[in-house]
C-alpha cells in the first residue's frame, strides 16, 4: 500500500524528482544529483555524444597549432550539432572556446549544461520552490560538471562514484526522518 511518503515521492518525480528536493533543501548531495540528472538526460537525447565531444576536443587542440582560414571541421561540428540538443550545446561550447570565452571544452560545455538546467528552473511554474536554492549550487555544479565531462568524454580524472541513495524513497529516508 502506498504510503504518504511514496505519494510525496511521486509528486516530486514530476518536477525533477529527488534532485529538485535536494536543491530546494540545500542537501549535501544536491550538486551530485543535479550533475547525474544532466548526464542521464543527455544520454537519452544523444547516446553518441562521446565521439562528438572527442572530435571537437581534437580539433580544438590541433587548432592551437595552426588556425586555418576556413574551418571545415568547425562546419562539420556545427552540422553534427543539428542532430540533437546536447550536440547543439556542444557545438556552442566549441564556439565559446574558439572565441576565448572559456579555456577548455569540458568547462565551456559544463557552463552550457548548467545554464540549461537554470533556464528550466526559471521557466517552469512548478519548479518555483527550487528557484531560490539553485544559485547556491550553481558554481559548484559547473565545477562538478567540468570534472565529470573530463572523465566521461576524455577519460581524464577519477571515476565518478555512483550515488549511494539510488531511489527516491532512499533520498527521502535520508532527508525526512520517519515519525
Amino acid at each position: 500500500m502506498a504510503t504518504d511518503r511514496d505519494r510525496f515521492a511521486r509528486v516530486l518525480d514530476k518536477r525533477f524528482g529527488a534532485t529538485a528536493y535536494a536543491i530546494a533543501n540545500a542537501a549535501a548531495d544536491a550538486v551530485a544529483r543535479c550533475a547525474a540528472y544532466i548526464e542521464s538526460q543527455e544520454r537519452i537525447a544523444d547516446p553518441n555524444l562521446r565521439p562528438a565531444f572527442q572530435d571537437a576536443h581534437r580539433v580544438l587542440v590541433r587548432s592551437q597549432l595552426t588556425l586555418p582560414e576556413f574551418d571545415a571541421e568547425a562546419v562539420r561540428i556545427r552540422a553534427r550539432g543539428r542532430d540533437s540538443e546536447p550536440a547543439y550545446r556542444l557545438a556552442l561550447a566549441y564556439d565559446d572556446v574558439r572565441n576565448g570565452v572559456c579555456e577548455t571544452l569540458a568547462e565551456a560545455f559544463a557552463i552550457r549544461q548548467v545554464r540549461w538546467v537554470r533556464g528550466n528552473i526559471e521557466t517552469y511554474r512548478d519548479w518555483e520552490h527550487v528557484r531560490e536554492g539553485f544559485p547556491a549550487v550553481e558554481s559548484a555544479l559547473v565545477a562538478e560538471m567540468t570534472r565529470r565531462n573530463r572523465r566521461r568524454f576524455l577519460g581524464i580524472g577519477d571515476a565518478i562514484p555512483a550515488l549511494l541513495a539510488r531511489t527516491q524513497a532512499d533520498v527521502l529516508a535520508e532527508l525526512i526522518p520517519l515519525q
Binding site: 537525447a45 550539432g81 552550457r112 540549461w116 533556464g119 528550466n120 521557466t123 517552469y124 511554474r125
Partner: protein, 443 residues
Amino acid sequence: MSLDASARVAYQGRHMLVELSTHVFGTEIVRAVLDVDDIHPLTTAASDPSTFELLDLAVALYVLDRSVRVRVGRIRRSFALHLPVADVVRWRRIIPLVGEWYEALTGDAVEVVPIERGAAVGEHHRRESNFGFEGGVDVIGLLSEGLDSLCGADGVIHRDERIALASVITNPKRSSQIDTIKTALAAAHDGELLHYALATRLRRRRKVREKSQRSRTVLALITGMTIAHALGAGRVECYENGFGLLNLPVPDLQYGPMSSQVLNPRHLPLWDRLSRAFFGPTIEIVFPNRYRTKAEMVSRLSEPGRRLVSQTSSCDRLLRLPEGVIHCGTCGSCRYRQLSVALCGASINDVPYAYQHVGDGPDAELVLRYHARMLGIALSQPNAWDALVRLHPEISTLPFSEDGRGDKRESDDGRRNRIRQGTLDVLRRHVEELQQWEAVHAA
C-alpha cells in the same frame, strides 16, 4: 544521414499530389492532395513555367513539414523531394542554394531531385495565362490575420506607391478573418486595397501533424515573391515586429533551428540569391518594422485600425469555435500581444482570452521575463553588441544582412553600424517594455 521522409510531386487534373514515403514504422505511402484551383490564376500568369516552380517547391515543402514530426530529442529532419521541372540542368545548378537556404531558415535538410516534366506529371503547367491585371504594382505587402499584419495593412493605403496585398490561406477559417480585416480597412480609409489570396489547403493529409509548421512562413514569402514577379513588383513587404523577426531562441533552452528563423533578417542575402536564381531580377524582401517593437506598432495604428484589433489573432493554440475565436492567453504570442496592447498608450478592445495553460511546457510569461533578464544583462555591458553575440551567436552575421542593397552612398561600415545600433535599440526597448509590464502587474 538517414531520411525522415521522401516525397514525389505530381499533378492530376487541378490537384497537386505530394506522395510521402516515411520509414519510421515500416514503409508507408501517404498522398497529400492539394487543391490548386486557386494557384492557377497565379501560376499561369507567367509564360515561362519555371517562374512558378519555386511556388511548387514551397507547397511541397509545406506538405512535408506538416506531415513529418520532428523526432523527440532531435532538431533536424531530412527530406528528399522529387520535383517535376522544366529545365533539369538549370535546377541542378540551383539545388545547393535551395538546400542551404532551407536549412538556414528551418533547420531541416532537403535534397531536391529534379525530374523531367512530361505527360506523366499532368497538365498543371500547360494552361494559358488568364491573369489579367493591368498597370502593375510596385510593392506586395503580406497580409495575414495577425496583429502585425493589421498594423502593416493599416499604413499602406495612404502611401504613394502602388501596393497590392497578398495572403496565403492554409486554413479556410482564416480566409474570412482576412477578408473582414481587408474590407473594413478599405471602407474605413475610403480607399481601395488590391488583394490576392492563394489557398493551399491540404485535402487529404496525414493524421500526424507537426505543430511548428516552420515552412508556412516560407510559403507566404514565396507566394508574395511569385505574385510580385507576375505583377512586376520589385519588393515584398512583411510587417512582423522587430523582436518577432529576430525570434531569438531562449539561451540554452532553445537552439537556433528550434525557433523559426524564416524571417530573421540575417537571411536576406540568401533570399536575394534565391530570387535571382528563379526570377532573374532581385525581388527584395523588406521588413519595414525591423526596428519597432509590437507595442510601438500598435501605438501607430489609426483609429479604424484600432477598432479592428479584436478581429486579429496571434495565439499559438487558437481555438476556433462557431461563436468566435478564443485565444489561450498563456502562450508566448498571447503574452507578447497582451503586453503590446497594454503598453501602446491607447484604449484598445482586445480579443477574449481563456487564460488556460495547455500542456506541461514552460510558462510563456516566465520565459519572456527570463529571456529579457538575460538580454538586459548583455545589453548593459560596455560592448553590448559583443555581449549580445556571445548570448545569441545566431545574430553574428546580422549586420551584413543588407550588403549589396539600399542607398549606395552609405558605406558598408556605416550600414553595418546602423543595423547593429538599430538592433540593440529595439532589444533595449523590448526589455524596458517587459520591465514596465512587470511593474504594472506588480502594482
